[in-house]
């Protein structure tokens, strides 16, 4: 059984989720220790339990130590079965994180699966729906993993009440080797200030400021009011290039002005554009695992995050791959996944 140190690198729930995904895919059981060691609230939190339960549910596997505050957990996967699954995760969990935990294993099945995840769809520390739909899924489709996401209702923290549907798989054969060294020419920039149960003014200011900061044309950042239980706000922008599409986001938060939210998005975009890397830091994190499964490949990215490093360590434990990071043009890095 593999043993994983849950305190290494960034040491958050990411290691646990990656391990669950890899275990489901390889059939390899694992034990993770020192989960979130050194945090104010060490051990498993509620949103982590949601991921473990989902992994148990789709594979009929067994997990020990699935308790709040537990700092060690053992997971033995069963056989992943395609099918219809529903997960109710409440507002503390994030639908996208549960989706990511089970997506790759289900996408490898010969039959399609349907997921319904109810709870938070737009949480601070999780990739929002817009990122998954516009950046993550198009990239992984090229590696042979297919899914269609539908957001039936938005669910912002703390009210939750959102609903995310996903149709996953079945597996496609003969994917191309994923290579994204150049992004190619810029095709479009398309942003949105999305809000619920808040004054429209907030969204207007965000859109206006982002337009200003990125020198966008009128109409390149739209405003959209959505239905949701409680208040919520997300500013996002999709940057489409010839070879790749990436999405950059920031949530509206208490005590953060609309202008600051726009500033956060603009900063990520600027960094990405300047670097000439094909893929932004967040998307790069998410692509490592599918790439390792899909037979390798390479891409350029901006400076890797601590998440990237801890993710690489977990992947190399489960799969016979080597992941290297080397310098590329203008401060960018080349990440290569080879078998």
């Amino acid at each position: 059984m593999l043993t994983i140190d849950g305190s290494q690198g960034e040491g958050g729930g990411q290691i646990l989720r990656s391990a669950l995904t890899l275990s489901l895919l390889t059939g390899e059981p694992f034990r993770i220790e020192k989960i979130r060691a050194g945090r104010a609230k060490p051990g498993l939190l509620r949103q982590h339990l949601a991921a473990v339960k989902a992994a148990v549910q789709i594979s009929g596997g067994k997990a020990q130590g699935v308790e709040l505050g537990s700092t060690a957990l053992t997971f033995e996967p069963g056989e992943v079965r395609a099918g219809d699954y529903g997960f109710a995760i409440g507002s503390a969990g994030a639908a996208s994180l549960v989706f990511q935990t089970v997506f790759l294993p289900l996408a490898r099945q010969t039959a399609a699966s349907r997921l319904t995840i109810e709870g938070g769809t737009h949480n601070l520390a999780a990739p929002p729906f817009e990122f998954l739909e516009r950046a993550f899924l198009p990239a992984v489709r090229r590696m042979g993993f297919d899914a269609t996401l539908t957001l039936q209702r938005h669910g912002f923290y703390p009210a939750g009440g959102g609903k995310l549907m996903a149709e996953i798989g079945p597996v496609r054969t003969g994917p191309e080797k994923f290579v994204a060294e150049d992004r190619g020419t810029l095709l479009s920039r398309n942003g949105e200030a999305m809000f619920a149960n808040l004054g429209v003014d907030i969204a207007r200011r965000e859109a206006g400021r982002l337009q200003e900061l990125l020198a966008l044309a009128e109409g390149e950042v739209k405003i959209r009011e959505v239905e949701a239980s409680g208040p919520g706000n997300l500013l996002w922008i999709e940057i489409r290039h010839e070879h790749i599409t990436d999405v950059f986001t920031a949530h509206g938060e208490l005590n953060v002005t609309a202008e600051q939210v726009a500033g956060k998005v603009a900063k990520q975009v600027d960094k990405y554009i300047e670097s000439e890397a094909a893929i932004g830091a967040h998307l790069a994190d998410q692509l490592l695992l599918p790439l390792a499964l899909a037979g390798g490949g390479r891409f350029t990215t901006t400076r890797p995050t601590p998440h990237t490093h801890s993710n690489i360590a977990v992947i190399e434990k489960f799969l016979p791959v080597e992941i290297t990071i080397t310098d590329a043009r203008r401060g960018a890095r080349l990440i290569e996944v080879s078998l």
């Binding site: 609230k41 051990g43 939190l45 509620r46 949103q47 339990l49 308790e67 709040l68 505050g69 109710a88 995760i89 409440g90 507002s91 503390a92 109810e118 709870g119 923290y157 703390p158 009210a159 939750g160 009440g161 149960n197 239980s229 409680g230 208040p231 938060e253 208490l254 005590n255 953060v256």
Partner: protein
């Protein structure tokens, strides 16, 4: 298997309200308890009244949304006045009694964040007495100024023994109290130490009478006074300590001394007297040698314990007095009951907490600490430090813990012995010679059955310290002289009997004067000798 978390709490009719979408921007404690990222509510028992039914329905919907793991059960309690302590306590007590708590498979928590302050107090009391075997939950509003939407939650366990620092504090307090009861003497006898720990517990937690059994000099009176002082430091007792030796209360005046009398109750009752029981009101009454009380006094005492009131001599109205009773005896009261000398019902009342103080010879390991205690006391009283030299101490301790040492008057003997050695010690240092002499003195004291009568007589007249300054040589003679005096009508009559032989030979003229001078050598006169 992990236990399920069950939270019980009032629907907050102020804090938990909200109809519109803006309610999500407000802090609602009952929602917040279901939204903790490190705590899952498996079941919520939501207490509300009929009027709040629609508010409860909406709240339950919202809970389902934020926490699908939580099952919510409505508990209807209709209160006329949620600020009325009696009503709220009664309702919650009924709620607790009317249900079962499956502590094997469920953890219980009471959310005290919602509900009136009166409800909070009632929850405290019910949790503290384990009517509701729950911990308390207290939530506070999110620190929105820091952009934080999470509501901090504290779990408060009223089982104080679970807190290391509090438990340490209690243990220290208990140790202090036990040590206090032992007058700071570091006794080593495990049985004795266990008994003191028990007495400490009972003294702190109970107002019921105590019965201290033990031979004379075992420290009953001292212990009773210490119990009193301990209770007084803890503010459990405010009144005085009244120490009565029942053996001195025989005869006609016993009733009056104990229970008081009204003016003119009997010949000589020129003024009213309130009596010892009344003086002990609010305090502690120590009745030593309770077995010596006459039947009438026993009956009155029983009533005074049970009803906290009694009839003074000649009074037609009862006097009230509430005191803690500690009784002492060196007699086997069960035997006294069998022989008809002691009331069975009174013994039953006294017998709730009975402690048998062991004789000193049964606690040989405690003799050394008590020697040190006596030496310290000497030093305090006389202001001069007295020590043993090494060999002397070894020799005395060896003797004191040997079967030869009878310690028949227990601590009284030990105290007197140390006092004597301290007095005779050259330059404040007790040497082997002094110890050797003392051992002989003690052996003589304990040999022969007559010793006890003589000691009793002398103890009745002298303080331990004064007695220690009288040579053993003189002691037995003095005891005989006092006994003869007490058996005689006057000083002259006693003198005639004491000096009968020399009188016959005409060698002595004034017997009375000779006796007076003899007594004066020991600071005694006729009146002192006769007063007992």
């Amino acid at each position: 298997m992990t236990k399920a978390n069950v939270v019980i709490g009032f629907l907050g009719t102020t804090l938990d309200v909200g109809k519109w979408d803006t309610r999500w921007e407000r802090w609602r404690p009952t929602i917040a308890v279901c939204q903790q990222d490190d705590f899952i509510v498996d079941r919520l028992e939501l207490i509300h009244d009929d009027r709040s039914a629609s508010l409860a329905r909406r709240l339950i919907q919202d809970i389902n949304q934020v926490s699908p793991e939580t099952k919510v059960a409505s508990v209807i309690i209709n209160l006329k006045d949620p600020w009325d302590f009696e009503e709220v306590y009664g309702a919650l007590h009924d709620f607790a009694r009317g249900r079962s708590f499956d502590t094997e498979s469920e953890n219980y928590f009471v959310n005290i964040t919602t509900g009136t302050h009166v409800a909070q107090i009632c929850w405290f009391l019910l949790a503290e007495t384990r009517h509701v075997p729950a911990k308390l939950l207290q939530l506070s509003p999110p620190k929105k100024a820091r952009g934080d939407l999470t509501s901090p939650m504290r779990i408060i366990d009223l089982d104080l023994s679970r807190y290391d620092r509090i438990a340490t504090r209690f243990r220290a307090e208990q140790r202090d109290a036990a040590s206090f009861l032992k007058s700071g003497i570091a006794t080593r006898n495990p049985a004795f130490n266990r008994m003191i720990d028990r007495i400490e517990q009972v003294a702190i937690n109970s107002k019921a009478p105590f019965l201290l059994m033990g031979p004379t000099g075992a420290g009953k009176s001292q212990l009773a006074r210490r119990i009193y002082e301990l209770k007084k430091t803890r503010h459990q007792i405010e009144g005085p300590f009244v120490d009565v030796n029942c053996a001195t209360l025989r005869g006609d005046t016993a009733m009056s001394s104990l229970f008081g009398h009204v003016k003119g109750a009997f010949t000589g009752a020129q003024a009213a007297r309130s009596g010892l029981l009344k003086s002990a009101d609010g305090g502690l009454l120590f009745l030593d040698e309770i077995g010596e009380l006459g039947p009438d006094e026993q009956a009155m005492i029983l009533r005074a314990i049970e009803e906290k009131r009694f009839l003074a001599v000649g009074a037609d109205k009862e006097t009230a007095s509430d005191f803690q009773l500690v009784a002492g005896t060196n007699r086997d009261l069960n035997e006294a009951v069998r022989s008809g000398h002691f009331r069975e019902d009174l013994l039953a009342r006294l017998n709730l907490w009975t402690f048998a103080l062991p004789a000193l010879r049964d606690r040989p390991e405690d003799i050394e600490p008590n020697i040190d205690f006596e030496l310290d006391r000497q030093a305090r009283d006389d202001g001069a430090k007295i020590t043993f030299n090494k060999e002397a101490r070894l020799r005395f301790t060896h003797f004191a813990t040997s079967p030869d040492a009878k310690w028949s008057a227990n601590f009284r003997d030990l105290s007197a012995s140390i006092t004597r050695m301290a007095t005779l010690a050259p330059k404040g240092r007790i040497d082997e010679a002094t110890v050797g002499e003392e051992i002989e003195r003690l052996k003589a004291l304990w040999s022969g059955g007559r010793r006890d009568a003589a000691t009793d007589i002398l103890n009745g007249v002298f303080s331990d310290e004064r007695l220690a300054r009288i040579d053993l040589f003189d002691q037995s003679q003095l005891a005989t002289v006092i006994a003869i005096c007490r058996d005689s009508a006057s000083l002259s009559a006693a003198g005639r009997r004491l000096f009968a032989a020399s009188r016959r030979e005409k060698t002595s003229g004034n017997d009375a004067d000779r006796l007076r001078k003899y007594l004066a050598r020991f600071d005694l006169d006729w009146a002192t000798v006769m007063a007992r």
